[in-house]
Assembly symmetry: D2
């Protein structure tokens, strides 16, 4: 049975595997100072319409988050995030591990709004409190929702008003690009720094950080946290493969389309999906016995939380690798489990 | 022209590439909790004759070093290393970045001896000084030398006497295994923790940490430093591929053999190699003009240091991927450059 | 006009000043290894009926908090506190500065309850989340409330059930001792570590940390964070002076009595005090114009928060040094300001 | 018998004790935002002829060192110090505790020279090594030697050439001012930041940090490390008392004069003093049995190191509080012990 547990269950997208195989015996310098990384950086700057941007590759999302925050904040500065934000919940205190407080604001849908930022008490604090210096958002968010261009523009203005850095975690940027109204140049224009997530959209690993302004010393930060990848060209290679002929966006569109097929099929069977998600994560609510039956059949997914004594919200994730048939099979088996 | 710059210039050993390709569409859980990692862990425990050992995979060497040191030391404890040790010189203060002092002891050949440990003033210090709690060694060392079993046994005894943890950095353990008298069970018996380096011996990336005693909370440390690899099974897969049929040791033997051929060829042409290295790094001293001519011909290697106004010590590194012909070509061209 | 801003506006309690003056030219070793500190430690162990306890002196409260948390938690462990807790709000991220997350639980009255602890999602988390390992409480709390012995006993049981350390910040322990049902032996029996606050009850500076079990290495932690006081005997001297003849408790009783006189006088004038505080901090709500008039008259106090457009909650703090007349003057002037 | 162990064995200089006593019941705001601190800051700026300087008070030297280094360096930057430097040897890894490497350069007399700085390999390093960004010196040094104005000017020029910050630890600045050719305006002109040590020259505690340029955010750093002193006016008071009528310099002159008397008396008895110190620390070498006899008589001092099997170098320290008679007694008893 298919696993809808996450979008990194499989290996690499075929274009990535092909690139790795074809270039396997090339010799290059290490640590990202190679022609493959150079090309990928140039390609990303071009796709972002941001010739001044600085591009750095790292292996994973938590690494990207902690490095950006550590590099851009002073020790006593803090980062504002939704209470559901990945850095607040799912990184084992990695941000605090670099010495910085995460100021969590309650968010109903995983998004941060200007009103939430304005409500942070520390915003006008003195030296007895941390100093907020950055806003962290994710697109798509941890609950599958997607920021519109209007929303991110409003956040940018709020950040400008308060002198805050805007950092956008793009671990699932592919899915957001494939369903929202934001383009890569929009991200580059609105965020001080964001990343194009590879791991969750077809790469074996890798996140491409795009800084609006040059950060030459970021390489020192990377190395100091053990995040400088020895065979660095593998990072460049993968982004080049995914981005140069549109595979990245195609893969995300495929994932989103199957997620919407799941959503519609689940809804047609009468089950609620309280989170309105247009992206590759869907959060249906099923009676507990339906959840158990699906698990007994071998389906894998994450249990999000217990809605009440009899119902559970689960998470279904699709990816570039999900076969259409797997979705149809799931919906058919769901109908069986639910006696509908 | 061939690059002798390092042993991670190419991609993956063929057995690794094959394993990645064949399993590409398998679905597994992330973060190392998958059957591939389980198998690799079991295989390593078996090869180490250490059924109680705890095995954790991380992506790279600096990551391995900082995680082990952070996990095993209290905040005020320090690690003793050779002044040439990787953690002292080449990790951008990664160890200090976790809050720990590296106590560097001068070493003529990259090795740490019991006498050097005994000479550390902090060894009998009070609360105004850091408290040494660990000895860090590498095998092979940063200068290509190799610890014998007798030497490591003596270090172990010294560590026991002073209550010190013995940590062995095995980024180049393959090369050490292929030329020294130490076996994997010896490492497991003598070190509190060591690692089997993948990156420098055929893996795309990856180091396998072997702890003598279970460290279940090490996964929290890994995650907190952004070092938990999402598609974790790739780490298990690679070590399985390299270790289960001997490719790991064969690859290292190949690298060592070509390094010795380089060494002998260089010596036959009358150039000194002051560091007596039996491993895959060789450090010949050439007249500056010979170095320049080799570079002009397109050879790549690292310049180690200026020996005097007219002579430079360089580093030549071989790997699983180095063709025999590249070595012969180099020696022939060296003779030409040197007019011999 | 008198300042009710805090309980550390003046210098030292007379018994402290006398002790400093009389012993000024004594010569002792530094860093707390002197007979004065020895005596104070013995006295505290005796007053706590805790012969096994380990006593360490530090200069201030934030220092005490960050040192205890850093010394007792592993890097990935976190501390649970009320959202109003000093470590969450007023220490500029000092706890995060040692690498630890503060998990804030919403609290209506500044106290932590077992139910709040049980509600922490991270309590049953895996390695993707921090691991709660400690509960931090203050007595008196930041809002002036006081834990009863029954409440702290219930917390202790909850901590035992979940393997959590119980740490009690006693910056205002004097005030709590003078009005609650907890004695020093009770604190020593229920908390893993707590402190007897000097700064806010008559000392020039100083907090006496009492650990239930010996922590010989705590001196290393103290020194590493720059918190080892050179003329250490000053810390011992002050605690000896305050504790050996009851001045500590008398001072706190005086402060509490004047605070209750303030409370009753304010209430008699018809103003609400929404926080029910039996201790030396009172939080009355006044119309904004009354607040302004009091300030214009020269009274000093902290503005806590705006209750609504027309009313403000302020904080009035009394201390060992507050003259009775200052309280009566304030109440008389308040009546004038309020036209009552 | 008198203790020559250190210059912080006693309490406070009389002018300090008088100021504390006279102002004891004044009410002021906490945390250094009071008129006493304001006056002391103005006085220091004036004495330094540095109207733009920023003055911050902290309690002790290790605190001062770690705060300055943390505030002025980026995470991957390092500080160069003599191998005998206080931050390298006697602070339990406090600097590493803030994430920074101390690059120790061997120094025969405790001083750092431009040649030593130029010899630091990391000075021209890449992102695999820490980046030196600061030079740390002490005056007087840990071995009692004193930098001349010419020496510090040369260091300043070397720092300018390499873009390095010059930080001068003035824990014993009094002694240096009283015997060298450097004035307070010279320090303010040559160092980016230095401090005027109180603890070792008559204050109960306190170091006055003088930054050449405003550092308004330094208060955030202070608070975050638990170093913001609640009754902050005590810091201002003490420096005002010591500095406004010359007590600071007089105290240091007294200490130096007695140290030189010790030096001359010791030398007259035929004992060597290998370290040529013009300041309040003297390092005579005695036969071991003389050391033992002095200790048996009750004299206290630190044992510096064993010179050879039969001889020991000790440290004798004088202070503002040392009576002349104590020195004469010591010399007389030394003659007796040595049979001369």
């Amino acid at each position: 049975m298919y696993s809808f547990r996450n979008d990194y269950s499989e290996g690499a997208h075929p274009v990535v595997l092909k690139a790795l195989t074809e270039t396997n015996l090339e010799q290059t310098r290490g640590y990202g100072l190679d022609p493959r990384c150079e090309k990928a950086r140039a390609l990303i700057r071009s796709l972002c319409a941001a010739p001044e941007a600085d591009v750095h590759f790292v292996v994973g999302g938590t690494q990207a988050n902690l490095l950006v925050i550590e590099a851009m904040l002073k020790p006593y500065e803090a980062v504002i995030a939704a209470h559901t934000g990945h850095i607040n919940v799912h990184e084992t205190g990695a941000i605090e591990g670099t010495g910085h407080k995460v100021i969590a604001v309650p968010s109903p849908d995983g998004k941060v709004t200007p009103a939430m930022i304005e409500s942070v008490p520390e915003l006008h604090s003195d030296e007895h409190q941390v100093k907020p210096a950055m806003v962290y958002v994710s697109n798509t968010t941890e609950t599958g929702t997607v920021y519109s261009k209007a929303e991110l523009t409003a956040l940018r203005q709020c950040c400008d008003k308060h002198g805050l850095i805007l950092f956008l975690d793009g671990a699932r940027l592919g899915s957001a690009l494939a369903c929202g109204d934001m383009t890569l140049p929009d991200y580059a224009a609105l965020a001080d720094v964001f990343y194009i997530g590879g791991t969750k959209n077809g790469a074996l690993f890798g996140e491409a950080l795009v800084f609006a302004r040059p950060r030459p010393d970021f390489r020192w930060h990377i190395k100091r946290r053990g995040a400088m990848f020895a065979k660095g060209r593998l990072l460049g290679l993968q982004f080049q493969a995914l981005l140069e002929n549109g595979a990245y966006l195609d893969a995300a569109r495929h994932a989103n389309a199957l997620a919407l097929r799941l959503r519609d099929g689940v809804a047609a069977l009468g089950f609620p999906l309280p989170v309105e998600s247009p992206s590759n994560q869907q959060f249906p609510v099923f009676p507990n016995e339906v959840v158990s039956k699906l698990q007994d059949m071998g389906y894998e997914f994450e249990v999000d939380h217990a809605v009440d004594a009899g119902h559970t919200q689960i998470r279904l994730v699709t990816s570039w690798a999900t076969p259409e048939q797997a979705v149809e099979d799931f919906l058919r088996d769901l109908a069986v489990c639910a006696d509908r």
